[in-house]
Structures are given as structure tokens and as C-alpha cells.
Subunit: 329 residues, 2 copies
């Protein structure tokens, strides 16, 4: 495995440089690890997200009109610090407060919670939503549901971004965010573990021709390892898990996001999407929105995740279809 | 290596299914391997491209407003047949003729040349441009310049699509296409060969931590194998080859397209782009347009190619910046 990089300490700063080079609508803050919109509408509540690097294009790829106003980034798999989050809140708040989307990982929650506490004491209005769409189970923790924040987080970015752009205030965003976050579920699989660029070591072991079901995005192993048979068999297992979660009925309306976890090819993404949609059609599900792409990766992991969201409000579909200049949507 | 597919015979048809499923603005022709725009403006000259599969998102990803009107696809690395091309010309011609963009590969040229000959005899006005941006050399053929069609082809799609949308006729498109095609040069490298999904065998051998410079997109080996040192060393070699080709001078205007050949990560793409742009800045090159992404792949090859185009006409930049709904631009 070769990573096309220079000094390992500069992977992230060089990447950020390339992003602002190619996207003149984005600006890197001079003092903190924050990328923000050049021309943001200060009449709307700004939406901030953040997290460790290694999940590109998340979250910087979602900074743009009708999505995030800014995204904080940490080192690989390390969330931004409390100080940086605090500084970002201070920077973004033009009197409308700040709304934050947080992925449910212990380190992230710690950093953001402390920053929000301090910011509120300093007079900033801050509300947030926690993204916890991962419905995989943790074999090492008595098969508890993992509940981490995965690719479903991107649906929060897009739909909340749409509401914020249309003038929703902090309390409205909090209510919509809460409702949305409870309707989203994600589960995926990998055929190859991610490799850490600094050590060039894989995050878990998987033999050639083996699948790990229910992996996370930081090297969390799946709940089961099996031999690869076909895309259809994979799709079946994934849809069964989602069905157990939702207990859906025929004609229920859903949003579908199929996410490339790193190095799946377009041919694989298409073949797998085809199987997923066919199975959902057999279930009688009414798919209101389908999108596939590379939204939330785990470095060079080869794998795919499937996110569904029960479309309990059809305005969410309008939100997903509305225009944005965020480069990764 | 695992490919997430079902029956190997259905890889392409399942992929095409997924594309029209996700992109309702695209239609699969019922009888031939052609994907075309649902609502095309029949007042403009239609632009057609085509080639083997295995290069996704090329070329279907470029069918859309202001780019291609339609794209033909073959099996993996196999161009469409003369009969299918002929049928596509017949289908697209609404009296304005048909303009075709052909990648310079022997089998492609054969199929397209025969189809164009027959179509002309049947009364269709057909003009074409041959994309030949590959400036790598063929060690097995006395180090001749390879001259195949690589990622630079996508610049032809976008710029010619812009002119066609603005009313250029067949002769104008031919003249612009010819001028453009001679200004584009591409060269790349790989850290891992592509694997054929049908046999699961790599197309050439490369040890871990080795680079092959100047590879093609159908398994053509590079002109030199070297140990990986850094992104900067790679960028230096690539820029030197491009400089030898162009003999540029300070303040010359160029377009830059950095292409993910398959499974490079976004972090690698960004780090490498950063090095390429820095080196071009040192050369004093005036970069008028920068774009990076997955434009023309070779299955799961890990590698990156660099395309430059001398911006001898600044209207080309407007063409590149103009809006399109093609999903891969």
C-alpha cells in the first residue's frame, strides 16, 4: 500500500490547501482548522459541522449555499479541540446563534459539549443535533447497537441547510434535526480495511474474498465476517437489518443514500445500488429520493454503506433536491 | 481482491440500470448500448462519444446540458460495434448532423471510422475529432509517443458541448475540436494495476511501494518503474514531462485537470494537486482553470493522471465554467 503524500505531518494542511485552491468559494480560517463559505447570508442561522479527518469529502465538501456554513476538521480520526470549536462559534455567530451537527463519537461529543457549555456562558445561542444513524451492533459490547454518526449525517447537512437558508430559527432547526436524526439508519460492509497513512497498517484484518458486515468508519470491526458470494447476498443482509430496524410497511416513503466508503469502483457502486433498489421495490417501499456517491469515507477502505431515512415529511425531499454549490453533494 | 458484483455477464447492464435509476434526466436506448439526454435541444448539433466500459464515470457521466447528448458504451475495454454506432448516428441526427468525439485506440478508430463511412453514404452529415492526449511513450515500440485518448477527452466533451449549445455548426465544431485536441496533453502514474473483474487478475505487475510512470487506461504499462518516494517527486517527474512537451514560457495560460484513475483517496488527490500547482507556479504558469476528480478511470487502478491544456482561446475557460447537469462534471 502506497499513500501519495509528502511529510505525514502535512497531509491535512496540504489537502485543505488543495480544496481552497480548487474552490474559490471556500476560505480557510487563518487561525483555526475551519473552512467556511466566502459569501454567507448572515440573516440565516449558520450551520457548523466538524470531526476528524480521514472521511473526505466529509465535512468540508458540504460547505456551501443551502448546506453547511462552515466545517471544522481535526487530524485523522481526531475531532477538533474544544478551543477551536469555541473560536468557530464565536466567529460564525452574527446574532442568530449557531446550530451544530455532531457525529456521535465519544471524543467528538466531549469536545463539542464543553465548547457549547462555554459558548453559552459567554452569551452565544447554540443548539445542536447528534447524528447517530449507525444501527450496527458491537460484538465486544454485548451486541449493543453502536449508534455512531455515519453517512446519514450528510442528510442532516442537506435538509437542515435547506431549512436554515429558508429562514428557520435555532429552535426550529433543533426540532427538525431531532425528528430527522431519529428517522435515519445506516449499515454497511467492507471488503478491505482502511489503512492508516502514518503507519501504513490496516485497521482490522480481513482475508481476500471476505466481507465484514456492519463496520464503522474508524476501524470498528463488523458484527460478522463471511465469504463474499455476490452483491445480491450482501444487499439482502443489509436490507434485512434495515427492515428489522424500521418495521416498514408497503408504500412507506423513504430516502436512499448509498455511500462509497473509500475505494469501491463506480461499477461496484452501480451493481450494488441496483440490487438494493430491487429489494426495496420487492418490499413495496416508495423511494422518494435516491443518491449514490462518495459522501463519508474511512480513508481507503473498500466498502459501501446504505442509509435510509423514513420520509415522514415530504418537505425533506424538496430540501434534498434544492440547489447547492457544496462540492461533494 | 473482491468485486461487488453478481453474474459477470451483467456487470455493465446492471451498472447502466443504476445510472438511469438515479438520473431521471438520462434514458437508455431500448435496442443499442446508448444513454442519451431526455430533453435535448434538437436545434443544436448533437455530440456523441463512446468507448469501452471500465472507465466510469466516462462517458455516460458527461451526458447532459452543455456537454454530450449521448454516449455509447461497450463491454469492459471493448468499444461499441460499428452497427451500434451507426444506429446511434441515425437516432441522434435531426437534420443538424452528428459530431463525434473518438478516443485514439485502434479498436475504437476501426469501429467509428466504418460507421462514419456508412452513415455519410446514407446521407448523414458526420464530423469528428480524435482525442490523443496521451504523451507517454511505449517502451515496447521504440519509445514512440503513445498518443492514446485519456482524461483530456473530458475537456473536449465540456468545451465542445458548450459551443454546440451556443449554436456552433458541424464545421465550427470540427475546427474547434481539432485546435483543442492538439493543445491537450496527459500523463499519469499508478501505484497499483487495475484488476479485470472477470478474471480477478491484475493487468500488470507492480510491487508494493513501486510506481509505474506513464501507464495507460487499458493496462498499458508505463515507461519506467521506480520506488515511491513522495508526492513531490512524482509531481516533479510529471511536470518535467509536460514541460518537455509544451516548451512553455512564463505567464502562458493553461487549464489543469487532475484525474483519479480509480482508487486514489481524496487525501492523496489533494496532496498531489497541491504539489502540481506549486510546481506550475514556480514555472510561472497562469492557471486559468483547475479541476480535480474521478473523470476517466481504469477500473480499480490506484493512480492519478495530470492533463494540461494550453488556453490559447479564453472562451474555452467560459466553456469549462458554464453550467451542466452531467453528473460526473
Amino acid at each position: 500500500m502506497t499513500f501519495i503524500i509528502n511529510e505525514k505531518e502535512k497531509i491535512i494542511s496540504n489537502y485543505i490547501n488543495s480544496i481552497t485552491m480548487e474552490n474559490p468559494q471556500l476560505i480557510k480560517h487563518p487561525n483555526i482548522p475551519l473552512v467556511y463559505q466566502k459569501n454567507r447570508n448572515k440573516q440565516n442561522v449558520p450551520i457548523l459541522c466538524g470531526g476528524g479527518s480521514g472521511h473526505e469529502p466529509a465535512h468540508i465538501g458540504y460547505v456551501g449555499k443551502g448546506m453547511l456554513n462552515a466545517a471544522l476538521f481535526g487530524d485523522i480520526f481526531v475531532p477538533p479541540s474544544t478551543e477551536d470549536i469555541l473560536e468557530a462559534i464565536h466567529f460564525l455567530d452574527s446574532g442568530k446563534g449557531v446550530f451544530i451537527i455532531i457525529k456521535n463519537f465519544e471524543a467528538d461529543i466531549n469536545s463539542f459539549r464543553k465548547a457549547i457549555d462555554i459558548a453559552r456562558k459567554r452569551g452565544h445561542q447554540v443548539k445542536y443535533v447528534i447524528s447517530h444513524d449507525d444501527i450496527s451492533i458491537e460484538p465486544k459490547k454485548k451486541f449493543q447497537i453502536r449508534g455512531k454518526g455515519l453517512a446519514g449525517t450528510i442528510l442532516l447537512h442537506k435538509i437542515l441547510g435547506y431549512y436554515a437558508q429558508n429562514g428557520s430559527d435555532l429552535n426550529e432547526l433543533e426540532a427538525i434535526g431531532f425528528e430527522l436524526s431519529t428517522q435515519i439508519a445506516t449499515i454497511g460492509f467492507a471488503t478491505k480495511s482502511a489503512t492508516l497513512p502514518k503507519t501504513l497498517s490496516p485497521l482490522f484484518d480481513l482475508n481476500c474474498n471476505e466481507i465484514s458486515y456492519g463496520i464503522g468508519i474508524h476501524g470498528e470491526e463488523g458484527y460478522r465476517t463471511a465469504e463474499f458470494q455476490s452483491s445480491e447476498v450482501l444487499a439482502n443482509e443489509i436490507i434485512n437489518k434495515l427492515k428489522m430496524h424500521y418495521h416498514w410497511e408497503e408504500r412507506d416513503k423513504y430516502i436512499l443514500l448509498v455511500n462509497n466508503l473509500g475505494t469501491a469502483t463506480d461499477l461496484e457502486m452501480g451493481n450494488f445500488l441496483n440490487d438494493i433498489v430491487q429489494l426495496l421495490e420487492i418490499e413495496g417501499i416508495d423511494l422518494k429520493f435516491i443518491k449514490t456517491g462518495k459522501f463519508m469515507t474511512s480513508l481507503d477502505m473498500a466498502g459501501i454503506s446504505v442509509t435510509l431515512c423514513r420520509a415522514s415529511n415530504l418537505e425533506w425531499i424538496e430540501g434534498l433536491q434544492s440547489a447547492t454549490d457544496a462540492f461533494a453533494w
